[in-house]
């Protein structure tokens, strides 16, 4: 893993527009942003401020209307859809608000899914996934399917799935929105712990004050622009 100071992601004058009839909506408006390895970032702002659109751009799910966007040596603008899919598989972890686990797979299989898709042999993938579930505190629930787990447990599985392959960056979109405050805090603590122990970069979009307060870098978005970018010293 890289040093904290190393630049991981660079957005230069990035704009994302959507057409609504004759009107052009600027979801992300001429935005410049540098994300360094090992950061724990909260993106916050009102609904429609561009948080999710920004996450989609960073995750290679959407292409900017203009501007340059790169992760490490990869220029996302110049990559094909297939290459972007490979990039997401290999380099980016995703955590969703509604967990979005595969319902027909057990917790262990859900986590191992990413590794197996990457080409890791099944036994090795299961071993690594078991260890990861242990790290997120679900060592006894590996054979349960998502429907047999609570919301908090499902989100822990989702976290394990996102980080099992040691991605460069983990993107989380409202990860605590469906959790009660206790589970939210536990999840935040878990993500912070993983961030510190694995030096893994987290970018979390959230309305949740618990998440925002725990972040070391807080980026406030409004109308697709960065209103404030605050780094909290330890």
């Amino acid at each position: 893993m890289s040093d904290l100071s190393e630049s991981l992601m660079l957005l230069q004058d990035v704009t994302k527009t959507f057409e609504d009839g004759n009107r052009t909506i600027y979801a992300v408006d001429h935005l410049d942003l540098q994300i360094r390895s090992g950061e724990f970032i909260a993106l916050y702002g009102p609904s429609g401020s561009g948080k999710t659109t920004l996450l989609n751009l960073i995750g290679g799910l959407d292409r900017p209307s203009s501007g340059e966007l790169s992760i490490g040596e990869y220029q996302l603008n110049r990559m094909s859809e297939a290459e972007l899919t490979d990039l997401r598989l290999m380099e980016i972890g995703f955590i969703f608000q509604s967990y979005n686990l595969i319902p027909v797979f057990s917790a262990l299989e859900n986590v191992a899914f990413i590794l197996q898709m990457q080409g890791v042999e099944k036994e090795q993938a299961l071993k690594q996934s078991r260890e990861m579930l242990h790290q997120v505190g679900l060592q006894n629930m590996e054979n349960r399917r998502p429907a047999e787990l609570s919301g908090g447990q499902q989100q822990r599985v989702a976290v394990a799935r996102a980080i099992v392959s040691k991605p460069k960056i983990v993107l989380a979109d409202e990860p605590t929105a469906n959790l009660d405050s206790q589970n939210s805090q536990e999840l935040i603590d878990l993500m912070k712990h993983l961030n510190q122990t694995h030096k893994m970069t987290f970018v979390i979009s959230s309305h949740d004050p618990q998440v925002i307060d725990s972040a070391r870098r807080k980026i406030h978005l409004k109308d697709g622009k960065i209103v404030s970018d605050e780094i909290v010293s330890d």
């Binding site: 490979d86 380099e91 995703f94 899914f113 990413i114 197996q116 890791v120 090795q124 040691k166 929105a177």
Partner: protein, 435 residues
């Protein structure tokens, strides 16, 4: 793409995904809504089974019609004197020399029969009826087997059957006569005069065609030749080619078929005679068999359309319900092509299970009717179509494979359209879908 560290990655990236994983995923998806999958499997199996059953039934019907046609002394190829077809009387009989007989036997045939087939009147002490008299050599093998088997009272003719006759049970009833009684036959002799002969009924036969049973009578060839003063003359020679005729040969009738090759050789060997195949002599049977095959495929197409409605409807419902999941999978790195394969595999699993169920059910069904399907309830209607009363269904693996493959491939091809549409990258983009 960057290389993972040894700790993280032990194998190179599989660009098309992990086939075993995708297959496992597809199989598990099949059972996420077991009732829906089972209904889909059942409906597909029923559709396949009904197509296979109908196909087998029609094949059995066509086979019965073919056997019936060829067994009624038609043979696959016939030789006649010129103009016999226009006027089948004694004047249009032909001489068959020993050298011609030798030549005939040298051809690629499995059997032949030379006989007299003439119009005659049969008279009992009560009634008189027109009949078709067949003067046959009793020792002739295969062509006469069918009538030998159907003699249910008395016996068929033999070498000592001079002045004996075998008639149909229906004719016997009409004539108000019976086994052991005498009848008188009248026909035109070689000299143009009407001749009579008294014959004893030694056998009564039954025939699936009631008209044939009332019209065809069999007498010893020599007796008839002597009676009508036409030594060594025959009115018809029927032959069967060395390669038994089947339905596929009829459907794929080409100038180079074994039957047409035999016909051409016969024309060369006997240029003075009229050579015709059964198709030209029995055009109705020939057309019916071909029509049945077409009807088979019309039926299969109808079943397919019905199945497609059900399948596409269920598939669309399933695809719509899982849009969010597809987006998640795409987001975490599953390529749209892998997703497409997964959905197609789900369909393939459903079809494979349905195929096994339908084939198993068909084998069981055919085993349960191994004694044949009695068409007695159709009565004379079946006879009118020229089929036997009992139909025997057979397991025709090649036909089953063809029918099943046609249906399965069509279903996959058509179902692939909504699958392809729902897994396009534009459809998988999260936009506002993922939260």
């Amino acid at each position: 793409m960057k290389q993972k560290t040894a700790e993280q990655q032990t194998m190179p990236i599989h660009k098309s995904g992990n086939p075993a994983l995708i297959n496992r995923f597809a199989w598990r998806n099949l059972w996420r809504n077991p009732r829906r999958s089972l209904i889909l499997i059942l409906v597909t199996a029923l559709g396949l089974m009904s197509s296979l059953f109908f196909y087998s039934l029609m094949q059995a019907w066509a086979k019965s019609m073919l056997d019936h046609t060829l067994n009624s002394l038609s043979g696959e190829v016939q030789l006649h004197a010129p103009h016999y077809q226009d006027n089948p009387d004694v004047e249009h009989s032909m001489l068959l020399t020993s050298s011609q007989l030798t030549q005939l036997k040298s051809l690629p045939i499995r059997d032949f029969s030379a006989h007299l087939k003439l119009p005659a009147m049969i008279k009992s002490e009560y009634e008189t009826y027109p009949v078709q008299l067949l003067g046959v050599e009793p020792q002739t093998g295969r062509p006469l087997d069918f009538i030998r088997k159907t003699v249910h009272q008395g016996q068929f003719l033999n070498q000592d059957s001079t002045y004996q006759i075998v008639i149909g049970a229906k004719l016997a009833k009409r004539l108000n006569t019976d086994l052991g009684r005498k009848v008188v036959l009248m026909s035109q002799g070689n000299d143009g005069k009407l001749k009579e002969i008294g014959l004893t009924i030694v056998g009564l036969y039954r025939h699936s065609d009631p008209n044939a049973e009332a019209a065809m009578v069999f007498a010893d060839l020599k007796t008839v030749q002597n009676w009508l003063d036409i030594d060594n003359k025959y009115s018809e020679i029927t032959l069967n080619s060395s390669q038994p005729l089947d339905i596929q040969q009829i459907l794929n009738d080409t100038p180079n078929s074994p039957l047409n090759r035999l016909k051409n050789r016969l024309k060369q060997a006997f240029p003075e005679l009229d050579v015709q195949t059964w198709q030209s002599l029995q055009p109705f049977a020939n057309a019916s068999i071909k029509m049945m095959d077409s009807f088979n495929w019309v039926w299969i197409a109808m079943i397919l359309v019905l199945m497609l409605f059900g399948m596409i409807n269920t598939l669309l419902m399933s695809l719509y319900e899982r849009r969010r999941e597809f987006t998640t999978l795409y987001t975490i790195g599953l390529k749209s092509s892998a997703l497409r394969w997964m959905l197609l595999l789900e369909l393939v699993w459903i079809l494979a299970i349905a195929l096994l169920v339908s084939w198993g059910a068909m084998i069981a069904l055919i085993a349960s009717v191994s004694d044949g399907i009695d068409l007695g309830f159709l009565s004379e209607g079946a006879a009118w179509f020229g089929v036997d009363r009992i139909l025997y269904l057979n397991i025709e693996w090649q036909d089953w494979f063809d029918v099943s493959a046609a249906m399965v491939v069509t279903l996959i091809m058509i179902a692939a359209v909504p699958i392809w549409r729902s897994t396009r990258v534009a459809q998988l983009k999260p936009s506002n879908r993922i939260a």
